[in-house]
C-alpha cells in the first residue's frame, strides 16, 4: 500500500502553488482545530483539484488528487479522526465519501501509533498481520458501518474505495463474499482487490460458481475472472450443474456453458493465479 508520505509528494507534484498553499494551511489548521475538518473536507475538490493522482490512471481503484488530499486531512486529525468520521460520511457527497473510505487504512494505522507521522512506519506491520485489529478499535468502530453502507450502493467508485485494506482487515467472511459478488455485478475488476487472496472461502467459490450457472441458464456470458476464484475450492454440485448445461435442449444455454468452460480451462492452463 502507498504511504501517507508518498501520497503527499504525489499531491504536491499534481498541484500548483496556490493549491499547495491551501493544503498546507488546512493541515496546519486541522492539527489545532479538528472540527474545522467539517468545512475543509467538502472544499477539497475545488481547492486542490480532482484529476487522477497518477496521470493516465483513472480506474475505480486509482487515486484522485482530491482522494489523496482528503486522506491527508484526515490523517492530520490524529486521534480526533475517529469521532469525525460518521458525520463526515453521512453528510458527504460521493467524492467526500470516496476520500474518507480511501483514508481508512491510514487512520487505522495512525490510531495505533498515535501520530500521523508514524503511520508510514506502521503500515508494513499492519499489512503483515491484517486481522490483528484489537488495538485500532476507535477507527474500526466508527468506520466499519460506513464501509458496510458504501458496499450496499451500486456506485463503482464507492464500492472500490470501500474495498481496500481496511475492509479486508475488518469485514467477516460473509461480508467479503457479498462484496466480491457485488464487484462482479457492478463490473469492478477482481484482480484489483488487494487482500482478496487470503479471503477466498469455500462459500465464496460456491457463490461465484452458482452465479456462473445462473448466467449460463440465462444464455449469458460469464466473466472469465471469476474462474480462478471458483477453482480455489471447486464446488462439486455447482460445477456438475454447469457441465450438465452443455447438454441442455436450449441452444443458447449450451453455447453459454461451452464458452464459460472454455474460459475456465484456458485460465487454469495459462492464466495468472489471482
Amino acid at each position: 500500500m502507498i504511504t501517507a508520505g508518498a501520497l503527499r509528494s504525489a499531491v504536491e507534484s499534481r498541484t500548483d502553488q496556490s493549491q499547495r498553499a491551501w493544503l498546507d494551511d488546512a493541515l496546519d489548521v486541522l492539527a489545532r482545530n479538528p472540527a474545522a475538518i467539517r468545512a475543509h473536507f467538502p472544499a477539497v475538490g475545488r481547492r486542490v483539484g480532482r484529476g487522477p493522482l497518477d496521470p493516465g490512471a483513472s480506474g475505480p481503484f486509482d487515486w484522485t488528487v482530491d482522494d489523496a488530499a482528503r486522506t491527508l486531512l484526515l490523517v492530520a486529525l490524529g486521534p480526533a479522526a475517529a469521532a469525525e468520521l460518521p458525520a463526515l460520511y453521512r453528510h458527504g457527497d460521493a467524492a467526500e465519501r470516496r476520500g474518507l473510505l480511501r483514508a481508512l487504512p491510514f487512520l487505522a494505522a495512525a490510531d495505533v501509533a498515535g501520530t500521523a507521522d508514524a503511520a508510514d512506519d506502521r503500515e508494513a506491520a499492519h499489512a503483515g498481520d491484517a486481522r490483528d485489529v484489537s488495538d485500532v478499535t476507535d477507527v474500526a468502530e466508527a468506520a466499519v458501518p460506513l464501509v458496510a453502507d458504501a458496499l450496499r450502493t451500486n456506485d463503482q467508485r464507492l464500492v472500490a474505495a470501500a474495498l481496500g485494506a481496511f475492509a479486508f482487515a475488518h469485514l467477516d467472511d460473509d461480508a467479503v463474499a457479498q462484496a466480491v459478488l457485488k464487484c462482479v455485478f457492478v463490473g469492478i475488476p477482481l484482480a484489483s482487490l488487494e487482500g482478496l487472496d487470503e479471503r477466498v472461502t469455500p462459500a465464496l467459490s460456491r457463490m461465484l460458481a452458482a452465479y456462473a450457472h445462473e448466467r449460463i441458464a440465462a444464455g449469458r456470458t460469464v466473466p472469465a475472472e471469476i474462474w480462478p476464484l471458483v477453482d480455489r475450492h471447486p464446488p462439486e454440485a455447482e460445477l456438475a450443474a454447469i457441465a450438465a448445461e452443455l447438454e441442455h435442449p436450449v441452444a443458447g444455454r449450451r453455447a453459454a456453458a461451452g464458452a464459460a468452460l472454455a474460459d475456465r480451462a484456458a485460465l487454469a492452463e495459462h492464466g495468472p493465479k489471482i
Binding site: 453521512r90 458501518p145 458496510a148 453502507d149 450496499r152 450502493t153 460473509d174 461480508a175 457479498q178 459478488l181 457485488k182 455485478f185 457463490m207 452458482a210 452465479y211 450457472h213 445462473e214 441458464a217 440465462a218 444464455g219 436450449v250
Partner: protein, 290 residues
C-alpha cells in the same frame, strides 16, 4: 387486453409513463415500497414515502384511470441500518392497517445478513397479524441459496404459502418454488433478471398456474411496458388470449385479493382536479388525457 401490473415503482417514473401504461391496457397496479437508490437517514423519510405511496401516487395514477395499490415494508437493504430498523418496524402496523395496502413487501434478502433475517421474520409475522399476503424479493447475489433460505423462513413464519409471492425468479429458482404453493413472480427487464424470450420458455415448461409477470420498473434501466410486451410475445408464441389473461390479470388479482383490500370497481378516470393544490395535468390540452 386488461393488465394488472403487480410490481412497479411509479415513484421513480414520470407522469408520461402512467399515460403509456394506461394506453397499453394497465388498469390497476401495485407499487411495492423499496429503497430509493440511496439510504434514508431518518424514520421521517419513511413516513413521507409511505404517505406518498398512499396519497400522491394514487392520485397521479387516477388521472389516467389506473387504480393504484401499494405494499408496505422495510426493504432488505435498509434492514441493515441498525439505527433505523426498529423505528421503521414500529411504524409499519399503522400503515399496514390502511386501505389500498394489499401486502407486506418488499421483504426478503439482499445480502442475507442476520439483520435481514430478523427484519424478514418480523415482517412475515406482521403479515400474519394484519391478515395480509407478503411480496418477497429474492436476492441478486447468491440467488439460489437465497431462494431456498427464503422458503424456509416462509414456512417457519406460519404464513400460508398461497399468501406468499416469491419475486424475481429465473431458470434456476423456478424449480425450487414451483410446487411449493407459493406464487412465482418474474421481473421482465431490458438486460437483467428476465427477458421476454426466456419468460416464454419458462411458461412453456412450467405452465401458467401461479405465474405472475411484472416490469418492476424503477429508476434503473427498466421498461414499464414489459408486461404488455411479454403478453404480446406470449400470443406470438401460440399462447391463447385466456392464457395471457391468466398471467397478466387473473393471477395477480387472485394473489392480492387475498388482502381483501383490492379495489377494482369504479375507477374514476377523471379523478380529483388537484392533489393538495398540485395538478399533474398542467399543460394538458382541454379535455385531459384520453
Amino acid at each position: 387486453m386488461r393488465i394488472f401490473e403487480p410490481h412497479i415503482h411509479m415513484t421513480s417514473r414520470t407522469t408520461d409513463d402512467y399515460e403509456a401504461l394506461a394506453a397499453a391496457g394497465v388498469v390497476a397496479l401495485v407499487e411495492p415500497s423499496f429503497w430509493l437508490g440511496q439510504p434514508r437517514t431518518s424514520v421521517g423519510s419513511f413516513v413521507d414515502y409511505f404517505d406518498a405511496l398512499l396519497g400522491w401516487e394514487r392520485f397521479r395514477a387516477a388521472q389516467f384511470g389506473i387504480r393504484h395499490h401499494c405494499t408496505i415494508a422495510l426493504n432488505p437493504k435498509e434492514a441493515n441500518d441498525g439505527g433505523l430498523r426498529d423505528d421503521v418496524l414500529a411504524l409499519l402496523p399503522r400503515y399496514l392497517a390502511k386501505d389500498g395496502v394489499v401486502a407486506v413487501g418488499e421483504v426478503g434478502y439482499d445480502s442475507m445478513t442476520p439483520a435481514e433475517d430478523e427484519a424478514f421474520s418480523a415482517q412475515l409475522a406482521l403479515a400474519v397479524e394484519h391478515d395480509l399476503p407478503a411480496l418477497v424479493h429474492t436476492p441478486h447475489r447468491d440467488k439460489v441459496a437465497g431462494t431456498r433460505r427464503t422458503l424456509d423462513v416462509v414456512d417457519a413464519s406460519g404464513l400460508p404459502r398461497e399468501r406468499v409471492l416469491i419475486d424475481h425468479n429465473n431458470e434456476l429458482t423456478v424449480p425450487l418454488v414451483a410446487g411449493t404453493g407459493c406464487w412465482m413472480g418474474f421481473s421482465i427487464y431490458p438486460d437483467t433478471k428476465m427477458d421476454e424470450t426466456r419468460m416464454i420458455r419458462i411458461l412453456s415448461e412450467y405452465g401458467t398456474e401461479r405465474m405472475i409477470l411484472n416490469s418492476a420498473a424503477d429508476w434503473g434501466r427498466s421498461d414499464p411496458l414489459k408486461v404488455a410486451k411479454t403478453a404480446g410475445a406470449m400470443l406470438d408464441a401460440g399462447f391463447s388470449a385466456d392464457d395471457v389473461d391468466r398471467v397478466v390479470w387473473r393471477n395477480p388479482v387472485e394473489f392480492y385479493a387475498q388482502s381483501g383490500r383490492l379495489e377494482l370497481d369504479g375507477v374514476d378516470a377523471d379523478g380529483p382536479a388537484t392533489f393538495e393544490g398540485n395538478s399533474v395535468r398542467r399543460g394538458q390540452p382541454a379535455g385531459g388525457p384520453a
